[in-house]
């Protein structure tokens, strides 16, 4: 089996319509995306372009109005809420713009959360959560609460939390949106390292210098894919 060519995400004619009063908003108008394992994808587009909708669908937070979505070999377009929750738990690691850590829990407990919902035993959870924190270089901060950590450290805890279940994809939504440029680069280098280790990464962003880290940029406009491109600025030049 060739890891390089294995397809992780395959969508066909993905549509999402919302009823807003009497009007129907067609947020996605038939999107075909194919993403291979260990790809590093950036999704771009102006607001209203449907990139959030696409991200929700790819992240299994929502189901399409029509079309097909196969995630890691499994069709997921018709699953119910609880089945989607289990898919999210196993297959997807979320990284959010606002970190979304539990404020009263330690870094370690935050990273343990997905494992709790996966039903992993306490001993195993702690072992794996510590390993994930080590991967983002935060072993010495695992007993700290989020408010005792810097923004960059918080986002690294969130990345560790996304990694800990060994997901098929990491789905990052504007992961540097709340960080200064130095910290942004620090976080982007964490993603780069993960990618180098074989992780598939999908990043929603509107900052061109962030897209530079990606191998491929998908640009959306008016609910349709406008272009599949290599990044405009090669990554080597920004580092």
């Amino acid at each position: 089996m060739s890891v390089e060519n294995e397809i992780v995400i395959q969508t066909h004619d993905l549509k999402k319509h919302y009823e807003m009063g009497t009007e129907t908003v067609r947020a996605l108008r038939g999107v075909d995306v194919s993403i291979q394992r260990n790809e590093y994808i950036a999704i771009m587009g102006p607001s209203g372009s449907g990139k959030s909708t696409l991200m929700n669908l790819i992240g299994c937070l929502d189901t399409p109005t029509s079309g097909e979505y196969v995630l890691n070999g499994q069709p997921v377009q018709d699953l119910d809420d609880d089945e989607l929750a289990r898919i999210r738990n196993r297959e997807i690691g979320f990284v959010f713009q606002t970190f979304n850590l539990l404020p009263r829990a330690s870094a370690l407990h935050n990273v343990e959360l997905p494992l709790i919902y996966a039903g992993v035993s306490s001993r195993e959870r702690i072992k794996r959560a510590k390993a994930a924190l080590a991967q983002v270089d935060l072993s010495d901060r695992m007993d700290h609460k989020p408010n005792e950590l810097s923004g960059g450290q918080r986002q690294r805890v969130a990345i560790a939390r996304a990694l800990v279940n060994g997901p098929s994809i990491i789905l990052a939504d504007e992961p540097t949106g709340n960080l200064d440029s130095v910290t942004s680069e620090e976080i982007m280098s964490v993603f780069d390292a993960l990618h180098d280790n074989g992780q598939t990464i999908i990043m929603v962003t509107h900052e061109p210098h962030i897209t530079a880290h990606a191998e491929r940029v998908i640009t959306l406009r008016d609910g349709e894919i406008e272009s599949h491109d290599a990044p405009r600025t090669p990554r080597a030049q920004t580092v």
């Binding site: 937070l61 929750a85 999210r88 738990n89 979320f94 979304n100 959360l113 919902y117 939390r161 279940n165």
Partner: protein, 414 residues
């Protein structure tokens, strides 16, 4: 595992907002405190009545011949009213009839008593006392022993001596500084020489013994009785319950024969035993236990409503957390259990505080009043179950509200 997560979160919440938690839980705390305190005191009373009180008043294997049932709960029953109207007084003649009916009784005594408004010695006095005219053997029957001086002797009765044995309370009041033995007290128009003081009984029963004065029954009949021939009660103590039951039949038969009652005619006397008293107590007990659930459930329902509202607030304040948990793979059921565990932990914490306070209150009553207290294990179990029921009951609606959140909306919630 997920339930543990809920419990852990709940404990954190309680700890982070200690004052708020106390107010949240106040309904449950009051309800459970009340429940435990009442059960503790009633149970203590129960044990006391059964173990000590009935035995101390009537003695074990003891019965009395009296004119009518003296134990009343609430209003006088028709039977009691009829007895009062119909039954003749117990007399010295009855004493002889009973004595001959049970010649082998272990102990036998008879007595009569009346209240006196006051007893005095010099300038010291004690109001509202009871004077007992007791036959020889009365103290032995009651199990009263003297702490100072001596008790009644057969000679005192035979000679109708003007002597008295005092309860500890009376002795203390009349003789704060000097020994009472040999002093002459004034009781109505009589003057009596104090020959002894009983040991203090204390507690609930002390109300009777410690405020009583015993004189020979002969003396009492000659100088204090309103009706010289009337006897209050004849008391017989048997060696065993079987012997007591046999003696009761003998006494009943002898009195009926003597009073010429026809077969089928009701007794015109009453054989009082400790079971009469226990019956009365059980009646009181039943009333207390009938009222308890209503009072407790009112405060628990109020407590549950408060917890439900606090949980709704908690859910509203943690929409984003719910979104995060759902994004990370929590199912509806996970979220439901988390919040149910949280409300249950809250409520159980309230129940635990209530149990502690209730036991404390019971102990305080035990220490500060003559009422005894005893905490039965089942009351703690009942309290914990009630705490759990209130917790789950008040958590269902908020937990459902939390579980049905759409993760996309919840994640964007500000």
């Amino acid at each position: 595992m997920r339930i543990l997560e809920g419990i852990w979160i709940a404990l954190q919440q309680i700890w982070a907002h200690k004052l708020k938690s106390v107010f949240t839980l106040i309904g449950v705390i009051i309800g459970i405190t009340f429940l435990i305190a009442v059960i503790t005191i009633v149970e203590g009373m129960n044990r006391y009545v059964q173990d000590d009180f009935a035995g101390a008043i009537f003695g074990v294997n003891t019965f009395s011949v009296v004119r009518r049932n003296q134990i009343r709960t609430g209003a006088e029953s028709d039977e009691q009213r009829r007895q009062r109207a119909r039954n003749p007084y117990i007399t010295m003649h009855d004493v002889e009839v009973v004595r001959q009916a049970v010649p082998d009784a272990w102990r036998f005594s008879y007595s009569v008593d009346r209240g006196f408004s006051q007893v005095s010695y010099n300038e010291h006095s004690r109001k509202n006392i009871r004077v007992i005219g007791g036959s020889d053997g009365y103290e032995a029957m009651q199990g009263w022993t003297v702490a100072d001086g001596r008790g009644m002797s057969p000679l005192d009765e035979r000679m109708s001596l003007k002597v008295a044995v005092l309860g500890a309370d009376i002795a203390e009041r009349l003789f704060p500084d000097v020994s009472p033995i040999g002093k002459r007290i004034r009781l109505g128009s009589s003057r009596l020489e104090v020959i002894g003081v009983w040991e203090r009984q204390g507690g609930l029963l002390g109300v009777i013994r410690d405020a009583s004065i015993l004189v020979p029954i002969s003396t009492f009949r000659e100088t204090m009785a309103w009706q010289r021939n009337r006897i209050g009660e004849i008391t017989i103590k048997a060696r065993s319950i079987e012997e007591m039951q046999a003696s009761m039949l003998e006494v009943e038969a002898a009195l009926r024969r003597d009073r010429k009652l026809r077969p089928g005619e009701d007794n015109n006397f009453w054989l009082q035993t400790s079971s009469d008293l226990l019956g009365a107590w059980e009646k009181i007990n039943k009333i207390l236990f009938a009222a308890l659930p209503g009072l407790v459930s009112v405060s628990l329902v109020v407590g549950g409503i408060v917890i439900m509202n606090i949980m709704l607030l908690s859910v509203a304040g943690r929409i984003r957390e719910i979104g995060v948990r759902k994004a990370l793979g929590a199912t509806r059921r996970d979220i439901l259990f988390q919040f149910l565990a949280e409300s249950s932990t809250l409520s159980l914490a309230g129940a635990a505080i209530g149990i502690a306070l209730g036991i404390g209150l019971g102990k305080a009553v035990d220490a500060l009043t003559p009422l005894p207290a005893s905490v039965p294990m089942w009351s703690i179990a009942v309290s914990l179950v009630l705490g759990l029921v209130v917790g789950v009951g008040s958590g269902i609606y908020p937990a459902y509200q939390a579980a049905k959140q759409d993760p996309i909306v919840a994640l964007r919630y500000e």
